[in-house]
């Protein structure tokens, strides 16, 4: 009877992670993915994720984790529940960041070494198209209607607007030096592009037909921090379109921006070399990867405060969350 009871509690314990939300963090130098429970904030697991894992995302149904294994030149795929490795996807050389369309069918991958965006079919595991873009493609954003993919090229310093219908580039917009990340608002009316070396975020209004118009530029200023270290990298905007959070790299801060007036409201101190961001699915928390302190910072979105940090693997780079 007693042993049965223990067995039952173990089952309950084992089952509980499946109910809680999870965050998956790619550790660039550790070659692993760390799994963090987003209720208890305990590390649940850490598993091998390929060589130099960077960009990380999840299939829309939450069942598969995709990670850019940059030094393996492919996208590795893992079961989000068992962490078992599934067949890999072709990515083209040196994949860094990617974005998955809402249907989960096509993955758009930036190939940093080859000036290409590769389009991969996640079902047939084949390359559908290669789109030539500027030098050192990096950031990948997608319009909410899935009609446009925006790629940023770090040395060309452009945002390229690629149609998902014919894979042709329809608009090129010059932004400041080393654009890193592109993020649409949930209603698709605005696009934010971060520029790491330029130290700015370019803001574009997006017309009905997808055409961008630059309407502003956000700059940052923190007393006591050299302006050179205010380097915008990852960015996320709340689904109501009110708040933009921008990771400022070696400034070790996340900027809180009014996404409408574009005023910078606050800077939240996080871990060292803050890189990428992701909300928990309920948007209660924002997680930041901190590459030099090997941890993630948990930010309470409503309070706009850092509430805790969790040690993860070596040099955390990207983060994605599931329910």
């Amino acid at each position: 009877m007693k042993s049965l009871f223990i067995a039952a509690s173990i089952t309950a314990l084992l089952a509980s992670p499946a109910l809680a939300g999870k965050a998956f963090i790619s550790n660039e130098r550790g070659n692993t993915i760390t799994v963090v429970n987003t209720e208890t904030w305990e590390v649940e697991n850490e598993f091998f994720a390929g060589n130099r894992p960077r960009g990380i995302t999840v299939s829309p149904d939450g069942s598969k984790i995709y990670v850019c294994a940059s030094d393996d030149n492919l996208v590795r795929v893992f079961d989000a529940n068992t962490y078992e490795e599934l067949p890999s996807l072709p990515s083209g050389p040196d994949p860094e960041l990617f974005i998955i369309e809402p249907s989960g069918k096509r993955l758009y991958i930036a190939n940093e070494d080859d000036n290409l965006v590769t389009v991969t079919d996640t079902e047939t595991r084949t390359v559908l198209a290669e789109v030539p873009v500027g030098v050192e493609p990096e950031g990948m954003g997608m319009s909410p209607d899935a009609k446009w993919v925006v790629n940023t090229s770090e040395t060309t310093n452009m945002a390229h607007f690629i149609s998902t219908e014919d894979y042709k580039i329809y608009h090129n917009v010059l932004v400041d030096q080393r654009p890193r990340y592109a993020q649409y608002t949930a209603d698709g009316s605005r696009l934010f592009v971060t520029s790491e070396i330029g130290g700015t975020v370019s803001v574009m209004d997006i017309a009905e037909d997808g055409a961008p118009t630059v309407v502003g530029k956000i700059s940052f200023e923190v007393p006591g921090v050299q302006p050179e270290w205010l380097q915008p990298v990852g960015a996320k905007v709340t689904s109501d379109g009110k708040r933009l959070f921008v990771a400022l790299g070696p400034a070790n801060r996340v900027a809180v921006v009014d996404a409408q007036s574009l005023d910078v409201l606050d800077y939240i101190l996080v871990g060292q070399r803050v890189w990428q961001l992701d909300f928990t699915p309920d948007e209660k928390y924002l997680l930041t990867t901190n590459g030099n302190s090997n941890d993630i910072t948990v930010i309470d979105v409503a309070k706009e405060e850092a509430v805790r940090s969790v040690q993860v693997g070596e040099q955390p780079w990207g983060v994605v969350t599931i329910d």
């Binding site: 040196d94 030098v135 090229s153 040395t155 310093n157 130290g199 050179e228």
Partner: protein, 395 residues
């Protein structure tokens, strides 16, 4: 008929020239003046045939990729010449209408060619000469420098030494004029950052002790003797611009000390193992395009072409004056794989940039070092700052 066609042509011409993405064919040239010189101490330092030009290949490629979205094309000519034939080589380029010129040459030839280029209103980028005076008393208004000066590299070493609290220096200078000029930069850097040169010696260039035919046997006996009886010092600073003894110092000192400067920990604008700040992608692109690892000269040329590319992309100009004005404007900034934007000093045309400290295998540190502050940019703690400039050509 004539009358009817002309306005149409004029309108077409207007459309092409006033449109934002007007087609521009950018033509530049790299002139490399080759000198008679003795072999380097290390075979690893042998000059590749395409030294400097390899940077132009990647520069054209990077600019061309961006240009493909804007209707801009880039073509850079590569010219090798001798000091005697350099003037004729430049004349040929100028008479073809090329007015963006990158020069790899020694000080005297650089200045003479720059003045000749000025007669045709051409802009020159210095990618080879570190002499301080071409940025100061001998500066030219049509001369921009992507190569760091001796003052910048000496300050980079000095800051690292002072950060380490290695403030007592044994300065070993070569006896050639270039070595003496470099030694002066270290003496100035010591004063600037509060280090003491407790020993200051010159190692005479007698033309012997080279690597072949057991040169090292001689060196192994000469150098300990040369470096003995020295006052206490934390570090040895080598000023050997002509590369005849510096590399031997590291393990042949009387008192074992780290060596910095021309040997040991060297200040450098770029090396093939630098990976931070996205430089890995620069290295792989360079190696794919040229089949070898990058040298500082290649990087300096690449930088010059990227400056031109930024002016064409953002200011829509490939004219010498337009490129110069844009490069010196507040709008100019360039990402150069060094963690922060690089820009030009408005008072002497020098590109301000971080300096890598390189041990032959890795980036050991990068100057400016933490804690060296400046009212405008920490990068201006390296090299000649505005209040001390003697350059008036940019006023």
């Amino acid at each position: 008929m004539q009358f009817r066609v002309s306005p149409l042509l004029a309108a077409l011409f207007l459309m092409l020239t006033t449109g934002y993405a007007a087609a521009i064919d950018v033509r530049a040239a790299v002139i490399r003046v080759d000198y008679q010189s003795v072999l380097p101490i290390s075979r690893y330092d042998l000059r590749p045939d395409d030294l400097g030009f390899a940077g132009a290949v990647l520069g054209d490629e990077d600019n061309g990729t961006t240009g493909s979205f804007l209707g801009h094309t880039y073509e850079t000519r590569h010219v090798t010449t001798t000091p005697e034939e350099a003037d004729a080589a430049l004349d040929a380029i100028l008479s073809d209408g090329v007015s963006l010129i990158i020069i790899l040459a020694d000080r005297d030839d650089l200045l003479r060619l720059t003045d000749k280029a000025q007669e045709s209103s051409a802009l020159v980028f210095n990618a080879g000469t570190a002499d301080v005076d071409v940025r100061d008393t001998e500066c030219r208004g049509n001369l921009l420098h992507t190569v760091p000066s001796h003052a910048m590299t000496a300050d980079a070493v000095a800051q690292f030494a002072v950060w380490k609290k290695w403030t007592d220096w044994f300065l070993v200078a070569g006896s050639n004029p270039q070595d003496e000029a470099l030694a002066d930069a270290y003496r100035r850097a010591a004063v600037k950052f509060g280090a003491d040169i407790t020993v200051d010696r010159t190692f005479e260039d007698t033309g012997g002790s080279r690597r072949t035919d057991s040169g090292h046997v001689l060196v192994q006996r000469q150098l300990p003797v040369f470096t003995q009886d020295a006052d206490d010092h934390d570090v040895v600073i080598a000023a050997d611009d002509t590369d005849y003894f510096g590399r031997y110092l590291t393990y042949h000192l009387w008192t074992p000390r780290p060596v910095m400067g021309s040997a040991g920990l060297r200040p450098i604008s770029m090396h093939g193992a630098h990976e931070a700040w996205g430089a890995t992608q620069f290295q792989t692109r360079f190696e794919e395009a040229t089949g070898r690892r990058v040298r500082p000269e290649d990087y300096n040329v690449w930088l010059a072409l990227r400056v031109i590319g930024e002016a064409v992309t953002r200011a829509n100009t490939a004219e010498a004056q337009g490129v110069r004005d844009y490069a010196l404007s507040d709008a100019f900034e360039l990402a150069a794989f060094k963690g922060q934007k690089v820009t030009f000093r408005k008072w002497n045309g020098q590109l301000r940039q971080p300096i890598l400290l390189y041990d032959g295998a890795i980036t050991v540190s990068v100057s400016p070092q933490e804690g060296f502050l400046h009212q405008n940019s920490p990068l201006d703690t390296l090299g000649l700052d505005e209040p001390e400039t003697n350059c008036t050509a940019f006023n």
